[in-house]
């Protein structure tokens, strides 16, 4: 669902992934991206809520923004996606 929303709402698409112990990190770039691997890409942070209210979604977004905020110094942009599966509702926000 997140990947579809990214395609609808931005000019970006998932172009690369990298491995981390719990699964994969996803990296976004322009469609047809031919840059060197991971150069000028946007990191995608996805988090899900099984069922919750709008305020739950906002609260989760604040938590994720605080976590990703640690990367401000590195200059790597990120998009945070909170997906609530009950309604369903989604919220995407640039870091």
């Amino acid at each position: 669902m997140t990947f579809l929303l990214i395609g609808l709402l931005t000019d970006l698409t998932v172009v690369e992934q990298s491995f981390k112990g719990t699964g994969f990190d996803y990296w976004l770039g322009p469609k047809g991206n031919t840059n060197v691997l991971f150069q000028d890409m946007v990191r995608l942070e996805i988090t899900g809520i099984r069922s919750g209210s709008k305020s739950d979604v906002m609260a989760r977004m604040r938590v994720k923004l605080a976590q990703v905020g640690r990367s401000d110094k590195m200059g790597l942009p990120a998009i945070i996606a909170v997906i609530e599966f009950g309604s369903p509702t989604s919220r995407l926000q640039n870091k």
């Binding site: 990298s18 491995f19 112990g21 990190d25 060197v36 691997l37 640690r70 990367s71 590195m74 200059g75």
Partner: protein
């Protein structure tokens, strides 16, 4: 093909293999998972080595090293992971990736420590979550959570000992036959409040498989308990002390009402999602499930006492405890097999409510629970 294209090709092949590995893991094919991750690691390391000399090529350089190191840890190649992490940190990784590399390094140190003790963690995690008024998103009162974790750990040890045909241990530490058996917890997760745990055991572990023989058995018994299937549970846990111990611990883990309304266990069993929702409150658990099958008779009188649980000083019998009521009287209560160490002892010096069966001049413990201080 130029170097950039080769790096990209190797990396994408590695990620394809890793994805296939994850599918195998979800299907419960752990051997296949490790095999595919090993292949993915070889390619990802090759991709990382191609950019290793280009310190300015960030974040590419550090992301590839971190990704290769993560794969190495997953498939047990800890020394390779260490080298990749060191190489990445020796460059100029962005702050966030550097922090992730340090966390990975801590993970390799932990895994190596387990390796030195000959301990291997079972590949499958069991996810435990609690919900209720005492739980917020990623936050909970410590007592409702920690008490349950301790009782789950007791359930794991008792199940392992039972599966090893060890006679019930009324006192003391777990059997030496269990070797390095232990419960390993992941960091608490948000989403109500949740942790995952894995069983660690020494290689070989006397022929027992921590997943098959301990975790599956424990979940099977919890399922029978949750459904109130006394017969099925007694069929499974034949020794009375083990039975009483199990049902009493399972009741402690169960929801207590408003504070904790549900406790959920979830895991992958042979690739199939398995979930057990304990939603029956402690007070609703049928008394028949909790009583001793050896001693209970319908005609026996039952009484309830409140007071502070004390050591039964000066008493020769090891199965006797003392309950001091509000008037200072000490009631001596006989504890049935299976309950002293795990159920009664954690309540020493606490205010408790005791239900006891009167048999002749003796009181025999049937049920005990903590109550609020007056």
């Amino acid at each position: 093909m130029n170097e950039d294209a080769t790096t990209t090709t190797l990396h994408r092949e590695a990620m394809n293999l890793a994805e296939q590995g994850y599918v195998a893991k979800l299907r419960g094919q752990h051997g296949r998972y490790l095999e595919l991750l090993g292949l993915a690691f070889d390619k990802e390391r090759a991709a990382a080595e191609l950019v290793a000399a280009q310190d300015a090529l960030e974040p590419t350089r550090s992301i590839l090293h971190r990704s290769a190191a993560s794969l190495a840890i997953e498939c047990g190649r800890l020394r390779d992971a260490e080298k990749l992490i060191a190489a990445a940190l020796a460059g100029e990784p962005p702050d966030e990736i550097a922090e992730e590399l340090r966390i990975l390094f801590e993970k390799t140190v932990f895994q190596q420590a387990l390796h030195r003790k000959g301990i291997v963690l079972a590949p499958v995690e069991v996810h435990v979550s609690i919900t209720g008024q005492a739980v917020d998103y990623g936050l909970t009162e410590s007592g409702v959570f920690l008490d349950r974790v301790q009782d789950i750990e007791r359930l794991v040890f008792r199940t392992a000992e039972r599966q090893q045909n060890v006679p019930f241990r009324e006192r003391g530490k777990p059997s030496k036959l269990l070797g390095g058996l232990g419960l390993y917890l992941t960091a608490p997760q948000a989403s109500s409040f949740a942790i995952s745990f894995r069983i660690g055991a020494q290689l070989g572990f006397h022929g027992l498989d921590p997943n098959q023989d301990i975790m599956r058995e424990l979940l099977d018994c919890l399922e029978l308990f949750n459904g109130g299937h006394e017969g099925g549970l007694r069929e499974r846990i034949r020794e009375e002390a083990y039975y009483l111990n199990f049902v009493s611990l399972a009741r402690n883990v169960s929801p207590d009402g408003d504070d904790i309304r549900a406790v959920r266990f979830a895991t992958l069993d042979d690739g199939h999602e398995r979930s057990i929702l304990l939603s029956r409150y402690r007070r609703e658990i049928p008394a028949a499930l909790l009583r001793s099958g050896l001693t209970q008779a319908e005609s026996e009188q039952v009484m309830t006492l409140e007071g502070t649980l004390r050591f039964a000083d000066g008493l020769k019998r090891k199965d006797l405890v003392g309950l001091r009521d509000s008037e200072g009287h000490v009631h001596k209560i006989i504890v049935p097999p299976g309950l002293l160490d795990d159920i009664v002892q954690p309540l020493w010096d606490s205010r408790v409510s005791v239900t006891a069966v009167i048999r002749g001049k003796s009181l025999h413990l049937r049920d005990i629970s903590k109550t609020a201080e007056p």
